[in-house]
């Protein structure tokens, strides 16, 4: 048996005996799950809709199925580089072209839940990241960077989108933080619990919507509306995130799971 085969076998064994856990990072896709709301002059994101075709009834006596429809960026979803204007020329920039090896990457979890609780508009800066590295160690290359805000605990309440008269309020990074993660730490992408990788007020930043702009302009990905980031270790988890193979698609709802060492507590 080669080394790689042994590694895979060990993984299978760990999954089978429970020493490797699978943590679901996905919110339930339902019509109630909010989608991003843009100013009225822009086209809007269609929420998830489900209409029954049959349920063991006249329209299908022995089977149950539904028609579903939604925007590509609905529920827990994946942002491909082509989603943003900065990424429109990135090769392999649409979800059907994302190379399979990018479906599986390790992750590092940065906990800003306390800061976000104290300030709904908390901005993650490069300085804050450097402080974090000083405490936890360097962010390794080719990792998903996951921002733990505990925002997922607000799902089902108006405080999740947290709309006010001046728009949404939720935490996110600034441009320097994003450049640091992309250029200096070579992250695979940014994963967040909020509705967007950018902060709620990021369209008002001097450098607007830096996460979208910098991630996608550099061929990196976004994961949004994640849950359960508080159940992952800082280092050592592996994220499985495979978007639907939509021809020319800009993103996709998907099921995201993490592999974590250790039995469930």
């Amino acid at each position: 048996m080669t080394g790689a085969a042994e590694t895979l076998a060990a993984l299978a064994g760990g999954l089978a005996d429970g020493t490797i856990r699978v943590v679901d990072l996905t919110n339930t896709l339902s019509p109630d799950f909010p989608v991003i709301v843009l100013p009225a002059e822009f086209g809007q994101c269609e929420p998830f809709r489900m209409e029954r075709v049959s349920r063991y009834d006249a329209d299908g006596p022995a089977w149950y199925w539904n028609n579903i429809s939604m925007n590509e960026h609905t529920g827990t979803h994946f942002d491909a580089p082509a989603h943003w204007i900065t990424g429109r020329d990135v090769p392999e920039g649409t979800v059907d072209r994302v190379v399979p090896r990018d479906f599986v990457h390790p992750a590092v979890v940065i906990d800003i839940s306390a800061e976000s609780a104290a300030d709904e508009d908390f901005i993650l800066t490069r300085a804050a990241l450097e402080r974090w590295e000083a405490q936890h160690g360097r962010i390794p290359p080719r990792h998903w960077v996951l921002l733990r805000t505990d925002w997922y605990k607000r799902v089902g309440t108006p405080e999740y989108l947290n709309l006010k008269d001046d728009g949404a309020h939720s935490p996110g990074p600034d441009g320097d933080a994003m450049r640091f993660l992309v250029h200096d730490r070579d992250c695979v992408g940014l994963g967040v619990e909020t509705v967007g990788t950018d902060a709620g007020q990021a369209s008002r930043f001097a450098e607007p919507l830096p996460a979208h702009s910098i991630l996608h302009g550099n061929g990196r990905f976004g994961l949004q509306c994640l849950t359960n980031l508080d159940k992952l270790p800082v280092f050592g988890s592996i994220i499985l995130a495979s978007p639907l193979k939509i021809e020319g698609g800009s993103g996709s709802p998907l099921r995201v799971v993490a592999l974590v060492a250790g039995r469930a507590g």
């Binding site: 019509p31 909010p34 009225a40 809007q44 929420p47 489900m50 108006p158 947290n162 709309l163 006010k164």
Partner: protein, 405 residues
């Protein structure tokens, strides 16, 4: 979940619900024409295009000269010649509403007619005739006192209209300018409970003068583009509703070929057309169980003759109007009135590019109250809607050309 509802004694859950019936519905084609005029609030009788004789009941030929007949507005005055109180009948609807007063009225227009008689009228009295729609949706002559108390005090009159006072009303999209105006007008008209549907992802704090802060008003989540949301909303109202006012609409400019805005058109159809279907399906059984159930749909007058600058919206409104007529047909047997309140451009953000005159939301909302109080099936608010309706009734083909010439 019953905040905002007036107290009512709880019905014994073991008693059978009261089945609703409607008056005898079989009518001649000529009578259906009279009903079509009554639906618009016109007081019409046939007159002869040759000799001018006015005739009633509706005929197909003039009894004075065998000339052709046409419908024409007539004087509303009348004198009561005879009266009776019907105390026994084999008809299920009238059995439930006995005693019932009718009379013989000599109409100032000429003919003598059997009429529904307001309780304050007696033989020899002068009366003001109203051409109403009965519970089955057919034209009926009702004699009211020339002056006197609010006719609403007569239970017989209330069978021909939709009382708002003390009733429970659901308003869809109650968070728009139009929706808020409708909520405000319903509160002013004495509605017992108003449920203001809100489709926004979250409920914002309300300004001090927001009508949804009024006593008896409650906000409820309701998104007509989501069947589950509609079903859940209805289930959570905490009791029956008497009246539904559908103010939902999605208005964007756009043509067919140029600047079609396909997603906008789709949304206009999903909200306006499919939304009506989702809403109607959910509320129909509830309205059918009410003594004076009504479904009001606020429509653009361009449902009749499309506006090319708003091609998609016009198409959605036309489809919606068509559905509404089918819904009206379905609800006839249950005595539920289905009303279309038409307006031209509304004075709101959706119609910024439209020239005056535009109808203020408050005026349109008052039109809804008026249509209910008069029991109309079709009601035009504002000069634009009235003008287009009149032209359309007179000559639909020419009106379509004029609209998009």
């Amino acid at each position: 979940m019953t905040a905002g509802r007036p107290y009512r004694p709880v019905r014994d859950p073991l008693t059978r619900p009261i089945e609703r019936h409607v008056p005898p519905a079989l009518r001649s084609r000529a009578m259906h024409a009279m009903s079509a005029h009554a639906a618009l609030g016109r007081f019409v009788l046939q007159h002869c295009t040759d000799c001018g004789a006015v005739t009633y009941p509706p005929r197909d030929i003039c009894p004075a000269c065998w000339g052709d007949l046409a419908w024409a507005d007539q004087a509303r005055g009348a004198t009561i010649l005879a009266e009776t109180v019907i105390r026994t009948t084999t008809d299920l609807y009238f059995q439930a509403h006995l005693p019932w007063r009718i009379g013989t009225a000599a109409l100032d227009a000429g003919p003598v007619a059997i009429v529904h008689l307001h309780r304050d009228l007696a033989v020899g009295d002068r009366a003001a005739m109203q051409l109403m729609l009965d519970k089955g949706g057919n034209a009926a002559l009702f004699a009211l006192p020339v002056q006197g108390e609010d006719p609403m005090a007569d239970p017989q009159w209330r069978e021909f209209v939709v009382p708002v006072h003390d009733r429970a009303v659901l308003v869809t999209d109650g968070d728009t300018a139009l929706g808020k105006a409708v909520v405000r007008a319903l509160v002013a008209a004495g509605a017992g409970a108003v449920f203001a549907g809100t489709s926004a992802p979250s409920v914002p704090a309300l300004a001090a003068d927001d009508p949804r802060r009024a006593a008896g008003v409650r906000q409820v989540p309701l998104d007509l583009t989501d069947g589950r949301s509609v079903a859940r909303c209805i289930a959570q109202l905490g009791g029956p509703i008497d009246i539904v006012v559908n103010t939902a609409r999605f208005v964007r400019p756009g043509g067919v070929r140029a600047d079609a805005g396909l997603l906008h058109q789709k949304r206009a159809l999903d909200l306006g057309v499919l939304g009506l279907l989702r809403l109607a399906e959910a509320v129909a059984p509830i309205l059918a169980g009410r003594p004076a159930g009504a479904f009001v749909d606020i429509l653009s007058i361009h449902a009749l003759a499309g506006d090319a600058r708003f091609a998609g919206f016009s198409a959605a409104e036309a489809a919606r109007h068509s559905l509404l007529q089918s819904f009206r047909h379905e609800m006839r047997a249950a005595g539920v009135r289905v009303l279309a309140v038409f307006a031209g451009a509304i004075d709101d953000a959706d119609h910024q590019s439209q020239p005056s005159p535009r109808v203020a939301p408050a005026r349109l909302a008052q039109g809804v109250i008026d249509a209910l109080a008069l029991g109309r099936e079709q009601h035009c608010v504002g000069d634009v809607a009235r003008d287009l309706m009149d032209r359309w009734l007179a000559d639909p083909a020419t009106t379509l050309r004029e609209q998009n010439g």
